[in-house]
């Protein structure tokens, strides 16, 4: 039962978006969810959520039987105990506390569910359930009907490994933090003793105490630095970990000697502080980066996972055997390469070819996995599935391309490497000089130099700025998968755009019309063909004639107010139906064809004459031309690489202001173009046909609405529609790089001052202890107070 909703409210009762007056819901999805909620007595969801509009509910109405498959169970679920199975599902459409309440409530009300916990940050729900009492497919259907279509998250062992790694780092930080606190307390007592006097007995106690609490940090928490240093020596590349490891080792040895000797500095407070701060910086950076990679990976797992057999059963798409008959309904993705054995339809091949116009296919035609069936249900006989299909081979190319990408050393790392070498040289000079001047204090001064110059702020400078930048970018709808991508983005480069779905909307629209159009608009209502739908969208008030008859691959005809009309391709209208076309209409049709637009004709069949014409095309995004202009102003040189007809590509290029427009480029040729570029090259795309090029480019950017393959391959992906966020990404990364450089300069100044003082023997342990955290603090503030990524209006 649906509760009464005030009809006068112009907003959808579920998602609160505007709806045409008179309707209660914006779409069938929202209506379903609303009814399910009311029927289950879960109306409290609306109280919790408040009035803010959300995106309309999406339900797939799938039966999720593949969730009960043994292959699925082995790959994605984990037995916790007898009668207790665990699974992580990624949910689409999760956004707020109300979703949290709803998802957990619905699952826990299902008998057989032992525990369900939603992670809002990752949009995943962890479910423990008893397979004997409920099937996972039941839970899948529950979630789907509420507008949260579930997908299996990454395989269990990968997730478990990552979780272990995260927890280990946290424990290292905790140990280092506790040791740092205690070592500092004892160091304070020792410093106090320097001024106020302290009995040798007690200063010795504090020395041994400091040594004791420092041991866990130096031997356990700091192991990543030793490993990094050893790797750096083996690879013969100076790395930030090297001076840290040298400083730690020398410092602890000297501290140990002085503790046993009962005289001099022990350094344990500074060493533990160093390890704690460095590890914390790494954790912050990893957290922000993980957010982007996680999001990409989860979206990657949305790939079409099931195929429907001709008898209606669903099976995992990768297990489809050659020769199997599969049913593909309209607006479903074709799950395997094959041949049509029954029916005919039109397909959207843009994912493979970039061709924006729908392609008609009939009995006996070959179809490729990954392409979209648009208009009619068809039966296909599978020939190749999974990794051996054309799509599978394309995805293999993606991985190969990723391995070929030239490695780049982050500017900050290069600077740090030079810094490392200089510090080591300076330390050696200090040691030798002081051995002549004052042998008793030579080791002391050297270690003071190593500790004070310890690139603490320098080490924090980059990770903090990168972490702040990646976090800000994510909030602005730009997900960046790694710190080095920031630098690649900031450098002026060749920028190649894909056309369909990137520069254009990826959907057909009426761009021009001549003559009498209304009869055609009425006929367009009668079919699901994308071109007809474009015309129908333009004239929402037209109603379809009741006797409309459709001819596949041609057009549609019907009677309106006693006259017979037809709407269709020039071939259908002029040749099949034998209508004449004259004068201005004929000129328009030929001009459209030259510009790469799709002409559609309307004919009066009684008089056998063409009375109207539409031009349909994929239109450019409204912000495309402005974004390209901004990009040029930043010093990037844009171009188009598209699989579509060169005529169409040239026309789009003219519209957005790009002269370097190449059409008819296959996915393999796109990859070759990227690989052949000499300078830095950036690829921006959305389809599987761009994926290999995205992966091979210095930076690959997948735009909003891109396919899973492109999201997986890209280094940056966008969660906001349009091209403006692309330019935001470029501008933001430039600002981020400026902040990194500023941080480096700040910490270098601190270090230069510190090193000079230490080399001259002017700085005591107390001074070093003040200078070090001060420099780190400056860097922290400088990173988090800077606004790097902004949303352009």
């Amino acid at each position: 039962m649906v509760a009464v909703h005030p009809i006068s409210d112009p907003r959808c009762a579920h998602c609160h978006n505007e709806v045409p007056s008179g309707s209660v819901f914006c779409c069938a999805g929202c209506a379903t969810v609303y009814e399910v909620l009311k029927a289950k007595g879960l109306g409290r969801y609306y109280d919790l959520r408040g009035d803010i509009p959300i995106s309309p509910a999406k339900t797939t109405q799938r039966d999720y039987l593949d969730f009960d498959d043994t292959a699925f169970r082995d790959k994605y679920t984990l037995p916790r105990a007898p009668g207790r199975q665990h699974v992580d599902l990624y949910l689409e459409g999760v956004h707020c506390a109300a979703c949290l309440w709803l998802v957990e409530k619905v699952l826990k009300d299902e008998p057989g569910v032992i525990d369900a916990r939603l992670d809002l940050g990752k949009s995943t729900v962890a479910i423990d359930w008893d397979p004997a009492r409920t099937e996972l497919s039941t839970l899948g259907r529950d979630l789907d009907r509420l507008g949260y279509p579930p997908y299996p998250a990454a395989s269990t062992d990968r997730r478990a490994a990552r979780k272990r790694e995260d927890r280990k780092l946290l424990v290292r930080i905790a140990v280092a933090g506790a040791c740092f606190g205690n070592a500092m307390l004892m160091a304070l007592a020792l410093y106090g003793g320097l001024f106020a006097g302290i009995e040798a007995e007690f200063s010795q106690l504090f020395r041994w105490g400091s040594l004791l609490v420092a041991i866990p940090t130096l031997l356990y928490s700091a192991t990543p630095f030793y490993r990094g240093a050893i790797g750096s020596i083996r690879a013969r590349v100076p790395h930030m970990d090297l001076p840290i490891a040298v400083g730690l080792t020398l410092g602890s040895l000297a501290g140990l000697v002085n503790t046993v000797r009962g005289d001099g500095e022990i350094y344990f407070d500074s060493l533990t502080a160093l390890v704690f701060l460095l590890l914390s910086g790494r954790w912050l950076q990893a957290k922000e980066q993980r957010r982007a990679t996680d999001a990409a990976e989860l979206l990657y797992s949305l790939a079409p996972a099931t195929a429907r057999l001709a008898d209606g059963r669903e099976v995992p798409a990768e297990n489809v055997q050659p020769g199997t008959l599969l049913e593909v309904r309209p607006s479903e993705v074709i799950p395997a390469d094959g041949v049509i054995t029954q029916g005919a339809s039109s397909l959207d091949l843009s994912i493979l070819t970039g061709e924006s116009r729908p392609v008609e296919v009939e009995l006996g035609a070959s179809v490729s996995a990954g392409t979209l069936n648009l208009t009619h249900a068809i039966i296909i006989r599978a020939e190749k599935s999974g990794s051996s299909s054309r799509m599978g081979r394309l995805l293999a190319l993606v991985e190969e391309a990723a391995e070929h990408r030239a490695p780049i050393v982050l500017e900050a790392d290069k600077l740090a490497a030079r810094f490392v070498v200089r510090v080591l040289v300076l330390a050696a000079i200090t040691l030798v000089v002081w051995l002549f001047v004052d042998p008793a204090h030579a080791v002391d001064h050297t270690i003071a130099l190593l500790v004070v110059s310890c690139p603490c702020a320098l080490a924090l400078a980059t990770p903090l700025a990168v972490s702040a930048a990646i976090g800000q970018a994510a909030r602005a709808g730009i997900f960046i998968k790694g710190g080095d991508t920031l630098e690649r983005l900031a450098r002026p480069a060749e920028v190649w755009f894909d056309k369909t779905g990137t520069l254009t909307e990826g959907a057909q629209e009426v761009v021009d019309e001549r003559g009498e159009a209304l009869a055609g608009a009425a006929l367009a209502r009668a079919t699901q063909h994308p071109v007809s739908r474009a015309i129908a969208r333009k004239y929402p008030r037209a109603t379809a004639p009741s006797d409309a008859k459709q001819t596949l691959g041609g057009g549609v005809e019907g009677t309106i107010e006693g006259t017979r009309y037809a709407l269709g391709s020039p071939h259908f209208i002029l040749d099949t139906k034998g209508a004449r076309i004259e004068g201005a209409l004929d000129d328009a049709r030929q001009e459209w064809a030259r510009r790469g637009l799709t002409p559609v004709l309307v004919a009066d069949l009684d008089a056998r004459v063409v009375i109207g014409a539409f031009a349909v095309a994929d239109t450019t995004r409204p912000d495309a031309a402005a974004s390209i202009a901004r990009l040029r102003a930043l010093g990037y040189s844009p171009g188009i690489l598209s699989g579509d007809d060169p005529l169409v590509v040239a026309e789009i290029g003219r519209e957005v202001g790009i002269t370097r427009a190449r059409g008819g480029v296959s996915p393999e040729a796109k990859l070759a173009t990227i690989a052949a570029s000499r300078g830095p090259v950036i690829m921006i795309g959305d389809g599987a046909n761009d994926a290999a090029a995205l992966s091979r480019a210095d930076v690959g950017i997948a735009v909003f609405g891109g396919t899973e393959a492109s999201l997986g391959a890209a280094h940056v992906f966008l969660r906001r529609p349009g091209l403006a966020p692309v330019v935001d990404a470029f501008e933001g990364s430039r600002r981020a790089l400026r902040v990194i450089r500023r941080n480096m300069r700040l910490s270098l100044v601190y270090n230069l001052v510190g090193v000079t003082l230490a080399a001259l023997g002017l700085i005591g342990p107390l001074g070093a202890a003040i200078l070090m955290p001060l420099s780190s603090l400056t860097v922290v503030i400088s990173s988090y107070r800077s606004r790097m990524f902004r949303r352009s209006p």
């Binding site: 409290r44 949290l100 916990r117 940050g121 995260d166 905790a174 205690n182 009995e199 504090f206």
Partner: protein
């Protein structure tokens, strides 16, 4: 001042105890998700569930 010989080990033991508690919390998964709990706390239970 010789009380330090007692206090210092006690302080270190305390620290070890807290590190132990933190390790226990981490390995129990309490720090895996740092975002959701802040939302969960405002959703109070509306009575016992049908299954008790």
């Amino acid at each position: 001042m010789s009380v330090l010989y007692v206090l210092l080990p006690v302080a270190v033991l305390f620290a070890a105890g807290f590190v132990g508690a933190f390790v226990w919390a981490v390995s129990g998964g309490q720090l895996d998700d740092l975002e959701t709990p802040q939302h969960r706390v405002i959703l109070d239970d509306d009575g016992p569930s049908p299954r008790g």
